[in-house]
């Protein structure tokens, strides 16, 4: 399912029956039909085309923000778990602290001030989402550190960085992968929420969240505008979370 979604997003220009911002004033606000499967919006733009192109933005934000979050999380959690002691205490206290700041409101304020482009949005969402990964990595590294192979690698002359990257990280790869899938789902949800409140991806570029933002205004007359984008968000996040569950169960 996930592969289908990503494939559909990648092939959006071929699959989409219309251009995403092609305005057709003769077919404004039309209900779903054979010509427009998901209907059209107040400018006569095809909802299916916009959902497909929106998928590119939403998936890109979800995946790349998880990469950013993962990089920070692995760095913070890795150092904390490997070093232990004071560094561990300081880093984990910080992580707990950042976790207790309400993420969505903070990101909303940042987004309204900075008016972010999509790349900046990715950095913001990733920068606010590393804490869970840091905790997981710290726990894994802390447990692995006591095992013999770290000590023997050190004795063989490997530097700290090499031990972290070549010996510890591969052994924690599965746990990291699970926490990354969760970060992807969270990134997609946060992007859609930010866009839904008008501070995320800016129109006319379509994202699932800002399509819902536009749909909210005409819920009573054109309910179909609200169905497709939400369905796609739900399908994507369920697929990502299920994938994460599958990964976790393999341990």
């Amino acid at each position: 399912m996930l592969v289908c979604l990503i494939g559909a997003a990648a092939a959006a220009p071929r699959l989409a029956p219309y251009a995403p911002d092609q305005i057709d004033l003769s077919a404004r606000r039309s209900a779903p039909s054979a010509a427009h499967w998901f209907g059209t919006d107040e400018l006569g733009r095809d909802v299916l085309a916009r959902v497909l192109f929106g998928a590119r933005v939403s998936l890109a934000v979800g995946l790349l923000s998880a990469v950013v979050a993962g990089a920070i999380g692995v760095a913070v959690g890795g150092v904390a778990g490997y070093a232990g002691g004071m560094a561990d205490a300081a880093l984990m206290r910080t992580t707990d602290g950042v976790l207790s700041i309400p993420r969505l409101p903070l990101l909303m304020i940042a987004a309204v001030v900075l008016q972010p482009s999509v790349p900046l949005l990715i950095l913001l969402i990733g920068g606010a989402g590393w804490m869970e990964t840091a905790r997981v990595v710290r726990a894994e590294f802390g447990a692995l550190r006591g095992l013999g192979f770290v000590e023997s690698a050190r004795a063989a002359g490997a530097g700290h960085l090499r031990v972290l990257a070549r010996h510890l990280l591969p052994n924690a790869a599965q746990a990291v992968a699970v926490s990354l899938t969760l970060a992807v789902a969270r990134g997609i949800l946060i992007e859609s929420a930010l866009s839904f409140f008008g501070v995320g991806v800016r129109p006319p570029q379509a994202s699932w969240g800002n399509m819902l933002y536009q749909a909210q205004a005409s819920l009573s007359t054109e309910p179909w505008l609200a169905v497709a984008p939400g369905m796609f968000i739900l399908l994507t996040t369920v697929a990502v979370n299920l994938a994460g569950d599958q990964l976790a169960r393999r341990t």
């Binding site: 602290g97 207790s100 309400p102 993420r103 409101p105 009573s220």
Partner: protein, 315 residues
């Protein structure tokens, strides 16, 4: 115990200071600063902006501004709303009752869902009820809360006409029934989000507890199954659940912001999105500080509860 709590609170203070300094910097260092919304308005003359900038003290050095904001904030003077000129504290206080009402009913409903679902799916692990609820909570976790809210509005308010689509009361109608009808959908959204997350954790910790020696021993002594599950297993599984609720306190804040905004529930969450739309930074700043402080207090309170439920925690 008291020392444990004081230590937890003491850790929170520097954190709040850092958050406030960061957000303050973010707002003031951005192009245009807090007055950005006036800069883009052609009807506001540059001279007026200069006057306003001076009146609000925005021409002073940043650290000086931050310091006076912080000093005033600590004294309970939270400044004035940029959008209507009223004191920020008044605007927030008038919204508190609605939020408390929504959040407390949602917490109660979420717990009422979580405990039976979590316990039963752990006891009958792998059966249809477990599979059904595990799948449902997965969907609940993946569901964008605002979209679920829109769907409920479309179905129950617009299509069926059973429930009012938004607000807290119908003007001119009032009364308890009307009030409850307004409460149903926002509570459903918020409670579902919370229960989806909680029931997964409770199921997990119940499964762990059921296998432990003291539960097996209780079963072996021939105690009734119900009693073993509730008195022995559940009591011990509640500790981890409470710990998770602390982590989820921030989720509750985000959930309240989203839910209140979708249903125009006149609480603090919708005040936040209204302030966001108007770039009302004094209100935003105060709300972020208060919600962070609330989450931290909630965490500490939950730690205390955890310690009461499970004495092994205090250390």
């Amino acid at each position: 115990m008291a020392r444990f709590l004081v230590r937890r609170l003491a850790h929170a203070v520097p954190l709040l200071l850092i958050v406030s300094a960061l957000v303050f910097l973010l707002i003031h260092a951005a192009p245009g600063g807090p007055l950005a919304i006036y800069l883009s308005n052609p009807n506001v003359r540059p001279a007026d902006i200069e006057r306003l900038r001076h009146a609000l003290g925005l021409d002073r050095p940043l650290w000086d501004q931050y310091w006076s904001w912080l000093a005033a904030f600590m004294k309970g003077d939270w400044g004035y709303s940029f959008s209507d000129g009223r004191p920020v504290a008044d605007r927030i206080l008038e919204r508190v009752p609605a939020t408390i009402e929504l959040v407390s009913t949602s917490l109660v409903c979420a717990l009422a869902l979580t405990i039976p679902v979590g316990v039963w799916s752990a006891v009958r692990r792998g059966r249809w009820f477990d599979r059904l609820t595990t799948m449902t909570s997965m969907v609940g976790l993946s569901l964008p809360g605002f979209w679920f809210g829109l769907l409920l509005q479309m179905i129950f308010a617009l299509a069926l006409g059973w429930l009012p689509s938004s607000g807290r009361a119908t003007p001119g109608v009032g009364g308890a029934v009307d009030h409850l009808q307004h409460l149903v959908m926002p509570t459903a959204v918020l409670a579902l989000v919370l229960a989806s997350s909680w029931s997964r954790y409770l199921r997990g910790s119940m499964i762990e507890t059921v296998g432990q020696p003291f539960v097996v021993a209780a079963e072996a002594r021939g105690l009734p199954a119900m009693r073993v599950v509730l008195r022995h297993a559940l009591r011990n599984a509640l500790g981890p659940l409470v710990a998770i609720i602390t982590v989820d306190a921030a989720l509750l804040v985000s959930g309240a912001v989203v839910t209140e905004s979708v249903f125009a529930w006149p609480g603090i969450g919708s005040l936040f999105t209204e302030a966001l739309a108007r770039r009302d930074y004094s209100v935003l700043m105060a709300l972020l500080m208060l919600s962070s402080a609330a989450v931290i207090l909630f965490n500490v309170a939950a730690d205390a509860m955890h310690a009461v439920i499970d004495p092994r925690v205090t250390g």
